[in-house]
């Protein structure tokens, strides 16, 4: 059986399904305010989110507050991915230390005047931007995941360009996985705190910091910031974890 025929059959099936969707009119039009998808929960969120959560951004309100429990497990998925990558590659032989810096052994390197100068300036800017995204999380789009990715990028640049000598290098693959776990734990702990104060899990309005704010609803931004902090730590550490796992076992001369 030749592959052309199989591919042809698959394309025809996909085309029929696609045509069915277009002709069948199953799904509501995008932006149709009268469709059932847009007329049940969405108006509630639009009307109440600001009042309920003090988060000016609706996406953040739904993501981190109304459905914060989902986000907790999305963060766990990150942690799990890092640990799994480490466990799967743990059995592979590590490259002996001293050889692992590619510029030492074979002359191929990422260094150069342009890289050195440009990224020396870039790293602080990236770090500042990362903290801005984190702190601004509940106001604008973005937050924990993006801030974590930015922090990890700053670390990665420092790790990959040899002439920087990895000055920020306080992570090994194992400490990175640990840190990711601690990040998730910050999230969980933020959720557990209200349970000692008569609330449900992740009920930010019942966080035990009433003394610091004038109204209970003002505790929601605090809760959102704390969980975003946990997400940031977890995402950053997971990316570094996977990077370290791969770097320790890869030679760059192939």
């Amino acid at each position: 059986m030749d592959k052309v025929k199989i591919t042809g059959v698959i394309v025809i099936i996909a085309g029929v399904i696609l045509a069915g969707f277009i002709l069948g009119d199953f799904l509501p039009t995008v932006g149709d305010a009268t469709s059932s998808a847009n007329s049940y929960l969405s108006p509630y969120y639009i009307e109440h989110a600001l009042h309920d959560t003090e988060a000016p951004n609706l996406v953040t309100a739904v993501l981190a507050d109304y459905r914060g429990f989902d986000t907790l497990f999305e963060t766990c998925v990150m942690f799990l991915a890092g640990v799994t990558a480490l466990m799967v590659l743990l059995s592979k032989r590590k490259i002996v230390k001293g050889q692992r810096n590619p510029s030492d052994t074979n002359g191929i390197s990422f260094s150069g005047t342009v890289l050195d100068t440009a990224f020396r300036v870039l790293i602080p800017v990236i770090l500042i931007y990362a903290f801005y995204v984190l702190a601004h999380g509940e106001i604008s789009l973005g937050g924990g995941f993006q801030a974590g990715a930015l922090l990890a990028i700053a670390y990665m640049i420092d790790r990959l360009i040899p002439s920087f000598q990895n000055r920020l290098g306080f992570f090994t693959e194992e400490t990175a996985a640990m840190t990711a776990g601690v990040g998730v734990f910050i999230y969980i702990f933020t959720g557990i705190l209200p349970m000692f104060n008569g609330g449900n899990f992740l009920e930010y309005g019942k966080l035990p910091f009433e003394f610091a704010v004038e109204a209970a609803v003002m505790l929601h931004p605090v809760g959102i910031f704390l969980i975003e902090l946990g997400v940031t730590v977890c995402v950053m550490a997971t990316i570094i974890n996977i990077l370290e796992v791969v770097l320790e076992r890869t030679k760059f001369d192939d």
């Binding site: 199953f26 507050d65 743990l90 899990f201």
Partner: protein, 499 residues
């Protein structure tokens, strides 16, 4: 006390995420943290079930205090209360069982910590999958289960990574199909809460989208539970997974999606919907093919794990058969079979891992006279296999009995014939194992856990306890099935699924 539904998940979650840190500080305690929290969650799940049986009311827990359908809620009724106890029970004992495989090693601190973390996440995912009352939250837990499953399969035996990659490809399609189904339902109703979905779906007249959603759900859950034409990932995954985690993967991981399917087809979609009859017939055909295919295929292999894996395809078929019957006895049989098969298959994989641990046995022709060297494991193997065949008084007989009653009530005598034929086939392949076990010649095998060194003839106590408990539970479930059915399932199945 009203926090119990979430505490069941939070305890092991804290254990899982802090396990690497604790292991870094002290190699022995990371493992203990996970085992301890899993046992705590088991204790809590029993308390929760007792409370539900006493009051007869389902427990609702609102995450973040948001009322559904705006927030996420956990709903625990009689049926999933039992299933949560089952998952927590097997999870706790599997973590205990794993400890001889993953002894704390000061030079490789992370090896045992990572394994325990992933195993714990598998249990958390399954617990969440059975407790949640939100369709999208179910998807998130499905991802957690799948990811930890990939990890545990990939760190298994030599072909593990290939099996894991195969499962990764298929499992992702399954998760996508489920998500697409949820997407269709959301576009039709605008809500994600399961109870709310059920109310809203009664009102809409757009049946095409419901049929599409049903089709997506069958494929999604079918892949996750390894229902017949969608089972391709399952035999290699179950054969090559990490031997200590295999009991959890083979015993429980494929049952909970079956429960999810039941919940969708009986609680959310109306079983009186015109499309439902067709859907149930399709599931019935898949189930019958799966039962016969699994049993026939199991005859072909000499590898102990492969036989068990193919027999699982057949056994999942029984659960699907119960769903397709759709009457009271069928559903009771399906729930009972989820319970009894979980214990049987977990127990059999415990014995398989024990054999691997002590003698490195993978094939049945190495089993000759092994019961002399490992009397407890041998006895458990025989008891569990007899239950798989379906002999009274073991649990396997009674769940098949209820399924047969359901088939007779519906007048579908063909299903009864299939049940009998497949029981005979499983008798053949299990008696082939018995033949090797009792009549085969004794092989000279290298003993990895010699009695002279450890002062124990069998495997370590931490492995014997789970093996014995699985065998005892199969007998108890068999003897106590009328108690469970009369006091718990009869009321709750009527109320939850057929109410």
């Amino acid at each position: 006390m009203n926090h119990i539904p979430v505490l069941i998940i939070l305890f092991p979650l804290c254990g899982a995420v802090l396990c690497p840190l604790i292991s870094f500080l002290n190699p022995a305690w990371g493992k203990r943290a996970v085992v301890g929290t899993l046992f705590a969650s088991f204790a809590l799940s029993v308390i929760q079930l007792a409370g539900i049986v006493q009051t007869g009311e389902p427990v609702h827990y609102w995450m973040g205090g948001w009322a559904p359908p705006y927030g996420i809620e956990f709903v625990i009724d009689g049926v999933n209360g039992i299933i949560i106890v089952l998952v927590a029970f097997i999870g706790a004992f599997t973590s205990l069982f794993s400890s001889p495989f993953e002894e704390a090693n000061p030079n490789h601190r992370f090896k045992s910590a990572g394994y325990y973390s992933i195993l714990c996440f598998l249990v958390i995912g399954l617990l969440g999958l059975s407790s949640t009352g939100d369709a999208f939250n179910l998807y998130v837990f499905m991802e957690i289960v799948a990811l930890s499953g990939y990890g545990l399969i990939a760190i298994g035996e030599e072909k593990g990574p290939i099996a894991a990659f195969r499962y990764l490809l298929t499992g992702t399609i399954g998760a996508c199909m489920y998500l697409m189904g949820v997407g269709f339902l959301y576009s039709a109703t605008g809500t994600l809460n399961m109870a709310d979905l059920a109310i809203k779906l009664k009102e809409i007249d757009n049946t095409h989208i419901i049929i599409l959603a049903m089709a997506c759900m069958i494929v999604g859950f079918g892949i996750k539970m390894a229902l017949f034409p969608l089972h391709g990932w399952q035999p290699p995954a179950h054969s090559y997974a990490h031997p200590a985690a295999d009991p959890m993967i083979a015993g429980v991981m494929i049952k909970i999606p079956a429960y999810g399917m039941m919940r969708f087809f009986f609680c959310i979609f109306e079983e009186t919907h015109p499309a439902a009859e067709v859907v149930f017939n399709i599931i019935g055909v898949m189930a019958v093919c799966g039962i016969l295919f699994g049993s026939l295929k199991a005859l072909r292999y000499d590898k102990y794990n492969k036989i068990l894996a193919y027999s699982s395809i057949g056994q999942v078929g029984y659960i699907a058969l119960g769903i397709s019957l759709g009457n009271f006895y069928g559903l009771v049989g399906a729930v009972l079979h989820i319970l009894s098969h979980a214990f049987m298959k977990t127990g059999l994989f415990y014995t398989s891992a024990a054999l691997k641990y002590k003698f490195g046995i993978h094939y049945t022709d190495e089993l000759g006279q092994i019961y002399r060297k490992m009397p407890v494991t041998g006895t458990a193997m025989v008891a569990l296999s007899l239950s798989m065949i379906g002999l009274p008084p073991f649990a396997g007989f009674f769940s098949k009995w209820y399924l047969a009653l359901g088939a007779i009530q519906n007048g579908q005598y063909f299903y009864v014939a299939v049940l009998i034929v497949s029981s005979l086939l499983s008798a053949i392949y299990f008696f082939r194992i018995f033949e090797r076990l009792f009549m085969g010649e004794e092989k000279q095998l290298e003993d990895h856990y010699p009695a002279a060194e450890h002062g124990r003839k069998e495997v370590p106590l931490r492995m014997i306890i789970p093996v014995v408990i699985a065998a005892v539970m199969v007998v108890l479930l068999g003897l106590g099935n009328t108690f469970i059915v009369n006091n718990v399932l009869e009321i709750t199945v009527m109320e939850v699924f057929l109410g």
